[in-house]
């Protein structure tokens, strides 16, 4: 094998690395060492990692060199890793060590992926900036005074900074797409049920999904191939066969009917975002897509709908954290109930508490019909809106967020102002549809993401659109100077 400089190695995309490993041009040990060195070089500035599993990574890399795959990865700390701390970026689980692997993690391990460590995030997946981590905020590699987005901020930042070739994130209201957009990397949220949720610590059960964050669409295809498919341990996982995602990357989108929803280009959007996204749509037209204006009238209700349904489900999902069985336990004086209350008072951060209270209220007797039930009915309308539009077009193009990465601390005093950065990603989760974030330019030096949304189980189509775009553009190759 020819010697490669470490700096060349950590810049490889997952697909490139996989090819070089397969051709025995590089070894997994070399690649992993390079990534670990890169982490050591940048992580004190961006704090993308909660835990770095250096010894494990080297051991797995050694194993992997005996097989073909050996690409190192980061796993968001919301996914269970057997024997390795899974904190969900919460004091409540700061020392919690699961006794099993999440299915998505197990499948990647079976394919020989190497675990570099667990990624920082907003606590329990609740947040849009990774500022809600109980430990430390992650910093955007493009400007360390700014947020990387959230809740998968640690994952997007790691990939962006070369501190991982790829990462597994999760998306409940935009948590893969939005940080991917803020950090200039590619992310994919699959159709609800496409990837098993077994081992994904639940936030909002009917919305959560696991997905890849990587340097380009080809990487996302490779990773999705490894994790997608039915899991008998997840009753909501889809039985549908998994197509060959890499084979779907034909690079040809001629004749593709691409819808542009007018409601996603509202007033108040960052001008640079609007410009970059519009240019990207023009580029797709130049590549052969037929652009059509469409309308999704229920878009304006998605935010309210999400902030009733997600907190409601989370209020039940987080009820188990009481200090009795595992995790943080605040003992002290008083009886069992008082200990439980203190555990939750000190174990949860403010945003988590906020959502638990919202959810318990929305489900409570006398209010259930007006809030939770009504929100679920509106959700059906949102789903129908998309279904209707997908009768006329094959995919939608829109911004991921109305803004680019904002300064750390800018929106932490105003929860609603924070929630608003996800207005264009939320509706997709409500409808259970697949969507991607694709780097498409910059605004004031900060990355902008193009959102591609497709009908149920159209991941192959979306990946091909993104891949075709990435063959003709260079945005996804831009690296922060860190």
């Amino acid at each position: 094998m020819a010697a490669h400089a470490a700096s060349e190695l950590w810049q490889l995309s997952a697909a490139e690395a996989s090819r070089l490993l397969a051709d025995r041009e590089i070894s997994s040990v070399e690649l992993t060492d390079a990534c670990l060195e890169r982490i050591a070089a940048v992580d004190d500035r961006i704090s993308a990692y909660i835990t770095v599993t250096a010894d494990l990574a080297r051991q797995q890399a050694t194993d992997a060199d005996r097989r073909i795959a050996g690409v190192p990865m980061q796993i968001k700390d919301l996914l269970c890793t057997n024997g390795i701390a899974t904190t969900c970026a919460s004091r409540m689980l700061a020392e919690y060590i699961p006794v099993y692997d999440a299915t998505a993690v197990a499948r990647l391990r079976e394919h020989g992926a190497v675990l570099l460590g667990k990624g920082n995030m907003d606590e329990f997946g609740m947040g849009s900036s990774t500022e809600n981590s109980a430990f430390f905020p992650t910093r955007n590699p493009w400007d360390t005074g700014r947020v990387p987005g959230g809740s998968s901020g640690g994952s997007a930042a790691a990939v962006s900074a070369g501190a991982a070739p790829f990462a597994l994130g999760t998306d409940t209201g935009g948590s893969i797409r939005q940080p991917a957009s803020f950090c200039g990397v590619t992310g994919l949220k699959p159709t609800y049920g496409r990837v098993s949720r077994y081992g994904l610590v639940a936030y909002a059960s009917s919305l959560d999904q696991v997905g890849p964050i990587a340097r380009d669409a080809a990487d996302c295809a490779l990773i999705l191939q490894s994790i997608a498919g039915h899991d008998s341990r997840d009753a909501t996982s889809l039985p549908d066969a998994v197509p060959d995602y890499s084979a779907a990357l034909t690079g040809d989108i001629s004749g593709l009917r691409l819808g542009v929803p007018s409601e996603y280009f509202a007033e108040g959007m960052d001008a640079g975002v609007r410009a970059a996204v519009t240019a990207a749509i023009d580029q797709l037209a130049a590549l052969g897509a037929e652009i059509r204006e469409v309308s999704l009238p229920t878009t304006q209700y998605a935010l309210a709908c999400y902030y009733i349904i997600a907190p409601s489900e989370c209020s039940a999902n987080l009820a188990r954290y009481d200090g009795v069985k595992y995790g943080y336990s605040h003992q002290g004086d008083g009886d069992m109930w008082e200990a439980m209350e203190r555990t939750r008072q000190h174990g949860f951060g403010p945003e988590v508490k906020r959502r638990i209270m919202l959810g318990a209220f929305a489900l409570s007797s006398g209010y259930y019909d007006a809030y939770y039930h009504k929100a679920q009915q509106v959700r059906t309308l949102i789903r129908q809106d998309f279904a209707h539009v997908f009768e006329e077009v094959d995919a939608l193009a829109a911004p991921v967020s109305p803004v680019v990465a904002f300064p750390i601390g800018e929106r932490t005093d105003d929860p609603v102002r924070m929630y608003l950065v996800d207005v264009y990603t939320l509706p997709v989760n409500m409808a259970g549809l697949p969507a991607m974030s694709v780097p498409c330019g910059f605004s004031n030096g900060l990355p902008v993401g193009l959102q591609l949304i497709g009908p149920h189980l159209s991941e192959d189509r979306l990946l091909n659109i993104a891949h075709t775009y990435q063959q003709a553009t260079e945005w996804h190759r831009e690296r922060p100077g860190i």
Partner: protein
Amino acid sequence: MQYETVIGLEVHVQLHTRSKMFCGCPADYQAAEPNTRTCPVCLGLPGALPVINRRAVEYTVLTGLALNCRIPEFTKFDRKNYPYPDLMKGYQISQYDLPLALDGFLEIDGDTQLGLGRRRIGVERVHLEEDVGSYDDRGEGYSLVDVNRSGVPLMEVVSKPDMRSAEEARQYLTLLHSIVQYLGVSTGNMQDGNFRCDANVSIRPVGSQILGTRTEVKNMNSFRAVYQALEYEVVRQREVIEDGGAVVQETRGWIEEREVTVSQRSKEYAHDYRYFPEPDLPPLRIGPERVAELAAELPEFAPQRSARFQADLALSGYDADLLAGSRSMANYFETTLTAIAANPKAVADYISGKDTAARFLMGQVMRLTKGQAQPELALRLVQEGLELQKTRGSLEP
């Protein structure tokens, strides 16, 4: 003033499935060491998800059919939210508004002392849920939690408030117990906790259509305890009212040793369960074809079997009920009749005074039941069968 008693019963029946309701752990936890029948799912560990036990659903539908219920085509699970150390997830997966079975009934003989004859006791619903762990408050500042029972399938049968006395409640309970046992969906052992009964009791002036304030009575661990507790509670409520007071809506526990019910109002937490549909489980569609298949699996139950023994064999009601009492007993009895009918020489020997004939036939019964029957029981049944043969002359109808 004459008062009428109004009783409704909620019976929780542990289903005799191989594995738990939402995971693959073995459901037989009785003899196991604490916390050895567990997995991430029934422990409620972060990230774990439930998967429905098909057999438990089928057992519940069978029970609903046996109780003359309607089986709706569409059913789902819901989360029932409340905090307790033995409830691992902080919510119990149960069924709220779309249960597996609705609007059934059981026919009882009625309380003759009240002048009530044979009539129907309504079954409101039959639904499926998971059991919780066991919680043992040791008192000296600590309690123990055993998760083995957490997740065991639990079927709940809710009657309408149609029973008018402790005697009617006893009849209903006995019949329900016989049915679940005949179906083989539960061993129905009250002492082991497989068959638990809670009662809702109230009284009202005779002729009134308005229900009186009810109390919930729990902790009755035998049929006798149910009978005694209900008798006691009715008297207690009447005395409260006649003393000029009002019955308080509360939960009361039956104290076996003192033969009284005692108020169990402990630390108040809101009984708002905040039910919402379980997002981790898809709703179920049980089509009419499947319901018909299950209906075809229903056995002849005790009352019908007893009636047949009385009609065909001229047995007294008492004897027939006894022999039809359990499915295994009734089966052994019918096997005995088969053995007798197949061995006329043994019968003749018996009639002419040869005792060994009975033993010979007992051996035949053991062979026919593949050694399942208890020898003493088989012998007793043979002797009864032979006596029947003697008096009737033949066992043919």
